[in-house]
Amino acid sequence: MFAVMVDWLRQNAPLFFATFSGLAFETLPFLVIGSLLSSLIRVLVPGDFLRRFFPKNKMISILAGVFLGVLLPVCECGTVPVARSLREKGLPLSTAAAFLLAAPIVNPITVVSTIVAFQGYVQPVFLFRIGLGVSAAFLIAMIIEMASVLSDPTPSPAEYERVARAERAADTQGRAHVPEMILKVLDHTSHDFLDTARFLVIGIFTASLARVIVPMSSLTAALSQSSAAAVGIGMTMAYVLSLCSSADAFVARSLLSSLPFAATLGFLLLGPMIDIKNTILLSRFIPSRKLCVLVGLIIVVIFTLATIAAPLAGGAA
């Protein structure tokens, strides 16, 4: 028994080490950059400016949250601290959620990598990924808004005013001492990064173990003619592999030769929104019961949209 375990470990250690190292080098830099962006927002952007910038109408506010991702070139690990800062600045939860879900898909790096990866397939894949990703993020944020699935206590207008006054005072002081402000930004960056990194590393560890235990070949072998099954398998692969959204299009491109387009679409849509490492990362900020609801909601919406769109997307490709 012991010999079998040792043999298994010897065989699988290189794959585990490769997966863990690769994911760590891929995600931690984006986490620290995301933490820096988050701290810049927290220190430099007044909350009342953000609240004025985002429309009062919830639906338009959610749309603005979706397209805010275009301006911020960070992958899904980096968007988590930024979304947290936006929420702390008083943006509605649904708007922050829309940003959290859409930014990894609509940010310029992901858009360019999808176009480059699918040269020859550019039009359908690019459009389906962005279009369906934005639609899914909007839909999920609207469900969050209307059904209050993740509702948390919204600060009162008086509370917002108190925070805004404190921010204005800090802002005035900060303008007088730029070095102090830089120090403050970096200090927040440091704290945010360290506070979040442990959850990301645990997520990476879990994803690496899953990669060793769940052979991808067994998933592809389970494929049938049903596009729903293919979407499900593509989504499972995305969830287990936990790849960075900035580069997962290249992996998806390689899948096209062996998997139906439906599976590739499921892979491309779910991966940026949620995967093993991100689920654990989000557990830092969202209580587990609400996180389960959110993950379930994402999976159901993506599965439904991808299953409906897959035949059309496959045909177009």
Partner: protein, 244 residues
Amino acid sequence: MIRARDLSLERIIRVVLYFIFGSACVGLVASGKISTFLHPRMSPWILAAGVVFLALCAVEVRKRRLPPHSPLPILSYYSLLLVIVVAAQFPQIGTVAAGRFDLPTRRVRVTERPTAVEADALKPNDDEYWQVYNLVYGTPGYFAGRKIILAGFVYREKHFPDHVALVGRNLMWCCSADMGLIGFMATGGNIDSLPAGTWVEITGTLGVMSFDVANNGKAKPVPLIEIKSIRILRDHPSQNIFPQ
């Protein structure tokens, strides 16, 4: 035992961790060794993160006192230590063939004909390896009889036919987490006697064999190199191939 509430010690740990991460990011990019872990196109981001890490290190050094943040759990530091240990061990534990063997599932359509195909002997460089690989696997019969010169490491699996080995490379799309193993089956020479992981340059002729690559009972025609000569490489190219 390190105590998370020992703030001065916590500050020293932060300085050391940020310095290691910052210098690792900058150093790996500068030396080109980042390609062990990531596709080189990610280098600008790693470099930017390295600069941020070093700035965080400088801030921790300059700070007279810790800000009024709540102390972080010790797991925050252990988790980053784990990353350093695993990343440092990865090249030692063996990056050769760390990815799974998945020849049949990784082929894509070739849109540009590589220049190596036009030469008398196929000798793909790293930039063209992936395209040549796809062309030859796509139409193995078309290339039968062509001379080929190929570098790679020796790799075997239990279901390989007798006297046949793979001369392989790692294919990295994005990072080592998605690494797969690709290469050409080869027979002849003294390849039987070479241990797995040995770097070789083989010269031979392309042929075709029927082989159940995925070991699922479905044999397919795949290219096979009949080795004419084999040379052991002490200085070998990067083991990773990065699709363009």
